[in-house]
């Protein structure tokens, strides 16, 4: 039964990813990208990674893609603009490179050798989310705090870029 769900979800993810590439209108591309994200979130749920699934939904499907949607609607790119950018040769070259990378990744995972279980020991009675929180505030405390410096720099940058010259 699990396998059936997996195939259904994978089908949705792959087909909507194909639509993202091949549909003509940017708005549709973005909408199908959201569907891909939601599909991936469901796959994560199947792997019992409910925290990652929720983050995937909130951050990617929610925040990032809505931002994309805003940009697409505000900028209002027409078909002609997009197509004039892309010559046929470039398109085919891109496709070739994409397939080459796909092949390499596939080989790496097929004959890549053993993967190891995470070394951090999971306590049995904790849920996924609790464990993430525990790790974030103990083992990964420093990167978590330094990320705040990173975000502050990014905020300053956003202010500088939109401000008119003084």
């Amino acid at each position: 039964m699990e396998l059936v769900y997996f195939y259904i979800l994978s089908f949705i993810v792959v087909v909507s990813a194909v639509f993202v590439v091949f549909l003509r209108r940017p708005l549709h591309n973005v909408l199908f990208m959201i569907l891909t994200m939601i599909g991936v979130a469901c796959l994560m749920l199947q792997l019992e990674a409910e925290f990652i699934a929720m983050v995937q939904l909130i951050v990617y499907a929610g925040a990032v893609m809505v931002l994309f949607l805003f940009v697409v609607m505000l900028v209002n790119i027409t078909q002609a603009d997009l197509l004039s950018q892309l010559s046929a040769v470039r398109g085919w070259a891109g496709a070739l490179v994409a397939f080459a990378i796909f092949g390499v990744i596939l080989t790496v995972f097929k004959v890549g050798g053993q993967t190891a279980a995470p070394q951090a020991q999971a306590a049995q009675h904790l849920t996924n989310t609790e464990l993430v929180a525990r790790e974030l505030f103990t083992t990964y405390l420093l990167p978590f705090e330094v990320a705040s410096v990173l975000l502050l720099a990014a905020i300053i940058g956003a202010v500088i870029l939109v401000r008119k010259g003084r």
């Binding site: 790496v108 890549g112 050798g113 053993q114 951090a120 103990t138 420093l142 410096v149 720099a153 500088i160």
Partner: protein
């Protein structure tokens, strides 16, 4: 109830002080209207001096902090000093530049300080995640600064290019990290080393290693991941270009060395071969392309690519000798390149109108002292005694020879000879040629003069008395071996 791990702040205190100075500037800058640049510069310098003092205990420590996220050791000590020098000199020479350009942007100093803090986290990072966060902190600050000239289209283009290609490189780095995590189940450098020593080295781990290598090579601008360098160096504000060319390079090389010599020693045979090829390509392309440049910022950009190639030789040679050579080279390069770009910023004048080689004609007459300083920097870049650049090249090349990389050293020496041509062209222009119209002599502000004096003195001092500094570099690489 979550119990916090033991917190020891010795390791992060220097970076913490830089962040604190940044926040102070942010608050003070809001209230001040006049003299805001001078005040923020002063606060920045105080922060950097405090960080230099706080950095001292690291020299005798060999420890890790924050549940093995950060290494507190002499290696970080040495490179933190390099980064602090780079940040300090950059801040000193930025004041005049920003005043000339009419940009009262105190955030500039904040971002330089944050970038330096990010570099320190990257240098000290004992965990790939920590290194990544440090890398992003410094990259985001630099992306913003590169686009910092409000009226310049070139500056915006530089920022955009750097952002997109930098994002791509970060993606590569992260993908590599993910594959390594899949192979070893951990991202801590010691954990990775332990796992691979147990003998499980699969294709998965090798692919991860390759992708991480690409990420680092992008940041140190090694060929074929160098394409962004000339455009970004050319478009960015000149003092910032100086900071990028030394600070980012030092931090990236530091993390590169730490990751590859601490965690991935089992793959040394593989990555040495890759680096060999990259070093040869980098030296040849960097030096040959620099010959045909007429714009001095682009010339120095290609020269910085070439120097990345020389530093890679130190990594290929490996061992204490090679890596201490890398550290010494980074220190020497910091003084030299900051000084050279400092003069480029001065000669460029308002709007960076005069950044072609021909604008250097007659500088020997109009500003004799500046011309002497510039000649010393060019000598050092070309690797001519008694400058620091010579000792740097000498240590790295002899380390490589001792390991039997004869062809590599031959190529390096030949390309260095090519480089003499374009470095001496600058000197020739300054002394042998006269311009049609003699521009007014340049006036130095005290801060700029201080920055130039420090870098000239640095180049000469560590070049003439290298023993102490080579000894310190040798002492600093002990934690890695």
């Amino acid at each position: 109830m979550i119990s916090l791990p033991e917190l020891t702040f010795v390791g992060i205190l220097p970076a913490l002080l830089l962040c604190a100075a940044g926040v102070v500037i942010l608050v003070v800058g809001w209230f001040l209207r006049r003299g805001v640049l001078v005040v923020s510069c002063a606060v920045g310098i105080v922060g950097i001096a405090a960080a230099l003092i706080a950095n001292n205990p690291l020299r005798f420590a060999n420890d890790s902090a924050f549940s093995n996220m950060l290494a507190v050791d002499a290696y970080s000590w040495f490179l933190n000093i390099v980064i602090l020098i780079a940040a300090g000199l950059t801040i000193l020479m930025s004041v005049r530049y920003l005043e000339d350009e009419g940009i009262a942007m105190y955030e500039y100093f904040v971002l330089v300080l944050f970038a330096a803090a990010g570099m320190m986290f990257m240098v000290g990072g004992d965990h790939i995640l920590m290194i990544y966060i440090g890398l992003e902190t410094l990259s985001i600050s630099i992306y913003i600064l590169a686009g910092g000239l409000p009226e310049s289209v070139k500056s915006k283009e530089a920022a955009m290019k750097y952002l997109i290609l930098g994002g791509f490189a970060s993606g590569m780095f992260l993908y590599g990290a993910a594959l390594l995590f899949g192979a070893a189940g951990t991202l801590s450098l010691t954990g990775l080393a332990k796992h691979f020593q147990a003998g499980q080295v699969g294709l998965l781990a090798k692919a991860g290693m390759g992708l991480i290598l690409v990420g680092f090579c992008f940041k140190v601008s090694a060929v074929p991941f160098h394409m962004w360098t000339p455009d970004v160096y050319d478009g960015a504000p000149t003092p910032l270009t100086a900071f990028m060319s030394v600070g980012v390079k030092a931090a990236a090389f530091a993390a590169f060395v730490r990751v590859f010599f601490e965690a991935l020693t089992q793959f040394q045979v593989d990555w040495t071969q890759i680096l060999w090829a990259l070093a040869v390509l980098t030296m040849i392309l960097g030096n040959v392309a620099a010959v045909v440049q007429e714009n001095i910022k682009r010339m120095l950009a290609y020269s910085s690519i070439a120097h990345a190639g020389y530093i890679l030789i130190g990594m290929i040679a490996g061992g204490k000798a090679g890596i201490s050579g890398v550290l010494y080279y980074l220190l020497a390069y910091t003084f030299t390149n900051l000084g050279a770009f400092g003069i480029v910023a001065l000669v460029g004048r308002k709007g960076e109108a005069r950044i072609m080689l021909k604008d250097y004609r007659g500088l020997g007459n109009s500003n004799p002292l500046l011309a002497v300083a510039m000649s010393i920097f060019m000598f050092s870049l070309a690797g001519i005694p008694p400058t620091a650049g010579f000792i740097g090249k000498f240590t790295i090349f002899s380390a490589a020879l001792a390991q039997g990389y004869i062809w590599l050293v031959i190529i390096a020496v030949l390309t260095s000879i090519v480089s003499v041509f374009y470095y001496f062209r600058v000197i020739m222009k300054m002394y042998m040629e006269t311009p049609e119209t003699q521009p007014a002599a340049l006036q130095l502000s005290p801060a700029t003069a201080a920055a130039l004096i420090i870098s000239t003195a640095g180049v000469l001092y560590i070049g003439i008395f290298p023993t102490t500094y080579l000894g310190l570099a040798l002492e600093s690489v002990k934690p890695l071996f």
